[in-house]
Amino acid sequence: MTALQKNSDKIINFIIEENQQKLYNTMLILKVDGLENQVKSLEDRLTQYEREQIFFLEDEGNSHNPLNSGKTLFRAKDKMVSQNVDDFQQCKRIVERALEILSDWEDIDDIKFQIQYAAVIIGKIDNLKKRKYISSDEVRNKICTLLRNVIRLNATEEVLSKEQVTLLKEGISLAIVENIQKDELFKLNRKLRKAELSTMPAWE
């Protein structure tokens, strides 16, 4: 092999190596780009999750998924809050409607009509009791139970007076009062008894 050929080989090899290097570099860059795109995509998803406000909390060691690395998904606090607000709004709507019906009831002097209104109000109370806002609170639940029983015990006996129906309105309004205390339940009970409404069936 002549010196020229040797030099040529060297040059060609150098060019090839350089190109390989470039190629390698290019491939590396492409790979990094790809990874960056993946990372960006993950970041975008994370941002989206953040917008939906799902956040990761550490699982206390119960995870069986090795890829999960012990983290558990929980619903967003805000999402729960918005559900609670919905629940309260539903209860408020039911109470408002019940108050309208009770306002009509105040003017009734026919027991047959009274029974119809009573059935509707009991239905409203039953709906209220299905709502978490009511069922999860001991005092609210008891107020609703008390009112339901009062209507069941009294509405078919005689026509209720205006004062008695007003008390039912007062009672049902209490169901959605914030921070309601047990004292309010007892006060309501006493008012109902003083107004000669049976709050409990007879034992004797």
Partner: protein, 262 residues
Amino acid sequence: MNLLLDTTIQIDRITGSKERKRAVRGILDNHVLYCSTYVLGEYYNNIVKDFVTLFSLFLIDRDIGETGKRINERVFGRSQARVAKLYANIISMCDYNTDEIEDTFRLYADLIQEDFFEDIQEILNITKCERANAKIIYEDGKPILQHVQCTKKKEICEVCHLWRESKGEVARIIEDKTVNSKILDILILAEHDEKGFRGRNCMTLGDMIICLEALKSEISLGVCSSNKSDFQPICDLLGIDLLAPDYSLKTTSRDDGEDDKV
């Protein structure tokens, strides 16, 4: 007048029929009302205990039929009729819905304890009756009534002190012999050994204890009871006013001129 309400009146005004409640309300109007820890203890030992037992029976199966069956078994004895009536009324009122029934039981557990104190000016504590300290507590959502054991052996209250302060009155009652013979027998025995005032005998002597509480109180008190036949002789002997509702009153006939037309 200041009135000391006995157990029968408290039971009637809390658990009685509408007519009874009306009669009791009528008689108590315009009086200042008192009660005592002894009466509270009797109330807890009868009404509240029966209620909690019924509630617990229901919670065992949460089955309407099973609960009804168990009421008819030996659990309630003399109070079976009362409990059966309450249960029948509750299940009917709640449309046979077990969730509603349970909610109602939980509500009434609060109300029967609270209603006792309605319109009461003061609860006298002359006997310091331990049974009055019972309360309904909950374990895993199941009600338990704290148990108080009254026995002859141990003095856990001050009822004997009341009897010691009332020797003159006791002698008068023994001499008179108009009171119930069961009471007389116990009084004669207990004169020699005050253990005779404790345990089950204390419950038998309940009417007398309530009258003595009224007599020995710093406040001048009459007694109100639904049980006129037992209370009248004691009150007469001790010089205490007795007020008793008249449950025999019929509703007045209509005077609005309406004929009995169909």
